[in-house]
């Protein structure tokens, strides 16, 4: 079966524009995570869904960041009024369950560049 897919792979936005990043998890995976990876750094947690419920959004850096997963499958990360510091790779991961025994499978990421 297909792995985690993300679109677009690359996005260039002018400062102040809104962007929407899409994640298609592996079918049947309950848990979905978003991470932000700045250049040359490790990924940092943004938010977590279990099915359609957003159980943790403690990593979202500001109220300009919003994520949803309305039907418990596809998820969208939206960034409003983008700033240069938002430039990063945004990684999505899904897992069958939400425990350490359940491997997180990562997508290829969306590289966002804000000019």
């Amino acid at each position: 079966g297909a792995g985690v897919s993300q679109s677009p792979r690359y996005k260039v936005a002018k400062r102040g524009q809104d962007v929407a990043l899409r994640c298609d998890p592996i079918s049947g995976h309950v848990s979905l995570f978003w991470y932000q990876q700045a250049l040359g750094q490790g990924p940092e947690f943004l938010t977590y869904f279990q099915n359609e419920a957003q159980l943790d959004k403690s990593g979202l850096p500001s109220d300009r960041f919003f994520a949803e997963r309305p039907e418990g499958s596809v998820s969208t990360l939206k960034i409003q009024r983008t700033q240069q510091e938002d430039s990063a790779v945004y990684l999505c991961a899904s897992s069958l369950r939400g425990t350490g025994r359940s491997e997180q499978y990562f997508g290829p990421g969306t590289r966002l560049t804000v000019t």
């Binding site: 750094q41 490790g42 940092e44 943790d56 939400g98 350490g100 997508g107």
Partner: protein, 116 residues
């Protein structure tokens, strides 16, 4: 909060030789999971190996093995018989298994280059 530190930003190794990547972490938890992930230049993160803190036996996966020292909070990755395809960024990561989100906390990464 948990922190994960990888003190080696870059390393290189000759093909077929052995290399060890270091990782230390800080936590007050007793039960947790530790991971090594590989991120090739294509960017897709791949799980290399996983260690459960309550297991004293070090995990192994083919050419990859770990040295888990719980008291020292150290979790190093040994790659034996290095291959050109092992060239990648390697990230050490920590997870609290019973946290609501079970999110991963990553270190800053080590860039490994395998030379022919």
């Amino acid at each position: 909060a948990q922190t994960v530190t990888q003190s080696q930003p870059e390393m290189s190794v000759q093909e077929a030789e052995t290399v060890t990547l270091s990782c230390t972490y800080d936590t007050s938890e007793n039960n947790y999971y530790l991971f090594w992930y590989k991120q090739p230049p294509s960017r897709q993160m791949i799980l290399v190996i996983r260690q459960e803190a309550y297991k004293q036996q070090n995990a192994t996966e083919n050419r990859f093995s770990v040295n888990f020292q719980k008291a020292a909070k150290s979790f190093s990755l040994k790659i034996s018989d290095s291959q050109l395809g092992d060239t990648a960024m390697y990230f050490c990561a920590f997870m609290k298994p019973y946290n609501a989100g079970n999110m991963l906390t990553f270190g800053g990464g080590t860039r490994l280059m395998v030379k022919p």
